[in-house]
């Protein structure tokens, strides 16, 4: 994104924080929190302005914002500031209160219990009570985009074949080619540790942020990224159990409360493993570097999938 757009986005955040004409005496300098094609985020004082992707579905975004602003989700999703819809350089812009994120330098302190409990409450929210029509959760679509991005970088054939093999063995719904199984739930669609903030900053309760991929879908998808990290041997077993245990304790509906969760998690965790491996291969190929240890762990997991067909959820074929 160009400097001028960042400047304008900063002005948007400043105006949202103080009103358009007020003098600003904020001690902190404005900060660019993220600058990617699918989201540029700038902070000014207690306010954050986000420029979404240029091709963002405007109606979908409006519905997602309405959900984030709904009182039923006040303790789950961070609510946007109540401002009229705006665009900047062809990108929709939204404003949010600033929250304190998970410290990227101290991931060992990550709030896995809060993440599990927040997802349980998100998934258990009755869909009828929410403003709609709600768009689809974009998780499987993002997996397909990641594989597509990998293909366009033309990675070494042997590496691509491992990812493609795992991808092609997935059922159509996990590749965004058909509707997901089971009753639709409200899902986040892109859970990772960057999607949690404390609000009010710095000591308030944890909330989920970033509603760009939120929508109706299979709730196991939201558990699948930590599941994929765990299955690849990257996430410590204790952290995985804190996360999935808190989800179960808060009566999250994605997995059975008294039985093995893996039959339900198997397909989404495979898909997230493929997605993460595909992005790693795409980035490594573009940067002309070798895959590092964590990236290889994901590629190895893709390789092992070939020997074990995806599990059918209980009752699927009866």
């Amino acid at each position: 994104m160009t400097t001028s757009v960042i400047r304008e986005l900063t002005a948007t955040a400043r105006a949202a924080a103080h009103g358009p004409y007020a003098e600003c005496a904020c001690p902190a300098r404005p900060a660019v929190l993220a600058d990617r094609a699918d989201g540029t985020v700038v902070r000014h004082g207690g306010t954050v302005a986000k420029a979404h992707a240029p091709d963002a579905d405007r109606e979908g975004l409006a519905a997602r914002l309405a959900v984030a602003a709904h009182p039923a989700l006040a303790s789950v999703l961070l609510a946007p500031l109540d401002l009229p819809a705006a665009e900047l350089d062809g990108r929709p812009v939204t404003c949010w209160p600033h929250g304190t994120p998970v410290d990227p330098e101290a991931p060992q302190d990550a709030p896995w219990e809060a993440a599990g409990a927040l997802l349980a409450r998100l998934h258990a929210t009755p869909v009828e009570a929410l403003p709609g029509p709600l768009p689809e959760m974009r998780g499987p679509h993002k997996a397909a985009l990641a594989v597509d991005r990998m293909r366009r970088t033309r990675p070494p054939e042997a590496v691509a074949a491992v990812v493609e093999g795992a991808w092609s063995a997935l059922p159509p719904w996990a590749r965004a080619e058909s509707a997901p199984p089971g009753p639709p739930h409200l899902c986040h669609g892109d859970l990772h540790l960057g999607q949690l903030v404390r609000h009010p900053a710095p000591h308030g309760p944890w909330h989920l942020i970033d509603v760009d991929d939120l929508g109706l879908g299979n709730p196991a998808w939201d558990l699948a990224r930590p599941a994929a990290w765990y299955a690849a041997g990257l996430l410590a077993p204790d952290d995985w159990l804190r996360f999935i245990g808190a989800y179960g304790a808060a009566h999250g509906p994605a997995v059975p409360s008294d039985a093995d969760p893996w039959p339900v998690l198997d397909v989404p965790a495979r898909a997230l493993t493929v997605q993460t491996a595909a992005l790693a291969v795409a980035k490594a190929t573009a940067a002309r570097r070798e895959l590092d240890e964590a990236e290889l762990a994901l590629l190895d997991a893709c390789d092992r999938m070939a020997a074990v067909p995806p599990e059918l959820p209980a009752g699927a074929a009866k």
Binding site: V102, P107, E293, R304, A317
Partner: protein, 101 residues
């Protein structure tokens, strides 16, 4: 192999290191010789780990609801969970991965 009950194809799954065959049709499960014993052995090992230890006359302690099933990674997971790359937060690449889509 074919299911002896409904003739649908059976798929092999790994459950806690034990290979089991499950029918794609009726979902019935087939165990080879020794596999039931292997599963029973795993179950008793796990029951022994469940605190607190029950007095001899009392019934066996109820399984902790979350720990057992969720702790087992899928068959395609990394071998030897807990001894591989696990907990590599200091590994920069995984540290970044935790925070990105």
């Amino acid at each position: 192999m074919q299911c002896p009950k409904c003739r649908a194809p059976m798929q092999t799954y790994n459950r806690n290191g034990v290979q089991i065959e499950q029918c794609n049709g009726c979902r019935g499960i087939f165990l080879d010789y020794g596999e039931l014993e292997a599963l029973t052995r795993l179950e008793s090992q796990w029951a022994q780990q469940a605190p607190p230890a029950a007095p001899p006359a009392a019934p066996a302690p109820a399984p902790a609801p979350q720990a057992y099933p969720a702790a087992q990674p899928p068959a395609w997971g990394a071998p030897q969970p807990g001894h591989g790359h696990h907990g590599h937060y200091r590994h920069q690449s995984f540290g970044r991965m935790l925070f990105s889509s």
